[in-house]
Symmetry: C2
């Protein structure tokens, strides 16, 4: 008999190996926890931990009583690190800096207003900034903040601290949404980023809420060529 697999990592590795080896093909039902535990020479708890892990990673699908089966499409989930720009820049060994481009109250565009479920006459604080890595444009930030939800924000000195850093530190959110997309560079953004107007920019939008009240909508636009990557 094979050596006992007594750690959940070892069990997970073995199960993954069988999936990859096609011992268990996509869609197949695999043995139940009790049987696997017997075969591997460990407790059911350990098998459970391993299978739960693989299910979270998207390799398995589990349902009570119905059993555990190999996922039909191996990876449908990817966890990606949402860049915290300062850290991202500094991780490359570059010097981080940011410049405030605009800060004024105004009526948000329709797209923002409807995303935040705001009435037509509602005014927000509009903040535009540029993030720099070693002095070169790294990302363009376009943000609308609801100062009724976050009154302290109105008096903040944004030249000292980025809006994001302050909000993250001081305003806990209860709900957030993230959207990845592409946009054509408008003239202002193009100038800030130093690219051609109309260039294809990768964008990352984040909307956050505190209970039912919107906190902020922010869109980061990266210069052409920027890629957000992750392993599968």
């Amino acid at each position: 008999m094979a050596e006992a697999l007594t750690s959940w990592q070892a069990v997970a590795d073995e199960v993954l190996a069988r999936i990859r080896r096609r011992d268990w093909a996509p869609g197949d039902l695999i043995p139940n926890e009790v049987d696997l535990a017997g075969e591997m020479g460990c407790a059911r708890t350990t098998v459970n931990r391993a299978l739960r892990h693989l299910a979270e990673a998207g390799y398995l699908e589990r349902r009570r009583k119905a059993g555990t089966r190999v996922a039909l499409n191996p990876v449908r989930r990817a966890t990606l690190r949402i860049p915290v720009i300062r850290e991202e820049v500094e991780a490359r060994g570059a010097h981080y800096d940011h410049a405030l481009i605009l800060r004024e109250e105004g009526a948000p565009p329709l797209a923002v207003r409807s995303l935040l479920h705001l009435p037509p006459d509602r005014r927000l604080l509009h903040v535009v900034a540029l993030h720099l890595a070693d002095g070169a444009p790294y990302a363009h930030e376009d943000r609308w903040v609801d100062t009724e939800t976050v009154p302290d924000f109105a008096t903040l000195d944004l030249t000292q601290q980025s809006a994001n850093a302050w909000l993250v530190q001081n305003v806990p959110y209860t709900r957030g949404a993230l959207a990845l997309s592409a946009m054509a560079a408008d003239p202002d953004t193009a100038e800030a980023l130093g690219c051609a107007p109309g260039a294809a920019l990768f964008t990352l939008e984040r909307t956050t809420w505190k209970a039912a009240r919107p906190i902020t909508w922010v869109r980061l636009a990266y210069p052409p060529g920027h890629r957000l990557t992750t392993d599968l």
Copy 2:
């Protein structure tokens, strides 16, 4: 004394509530598992499960002996569902279809060749297809397949089955990478998607390997306005 929190979900909810309420601020060290278990009236195992879950979700950072602290930056990870196009289309209640645009052997462009670590003279199978939702263009697929790694692919009838569906079902990969980006529509892609040349397209690139051998590189380009979303 408050009601005992005897499920790991309840414990996780309570801890998350304290984080959001700023009882425990970002960077703070929170009580150790034994103390929390005492306070909540449950076993340490249960607290461990809850804290482990919150750490995986990015709310906490844990280190042995050093303890558990509230993450400085609440959410730096987002798990997003990688679209399996057919399912994505059908989930909207639309009819899925795909059309083969090109299928021929050739030398891949430099970018692909270097990503796959291939020698300069190496030829791959180039497949271009269009995914349709109710007859309208949904995504443009540009793919290079290494038929030395996947010989069966060469004889496949791609009008019946999408390349992705076949590969996913038949070729397990051991390593994969994902990159999200933006590109300007080249004339061919623009025509296929029915948008203007130069338009900003959201793209998703996937590279997969079987051990040290590349399987395929594929890039999906979506029409302007497409968004990939997830909750935070």
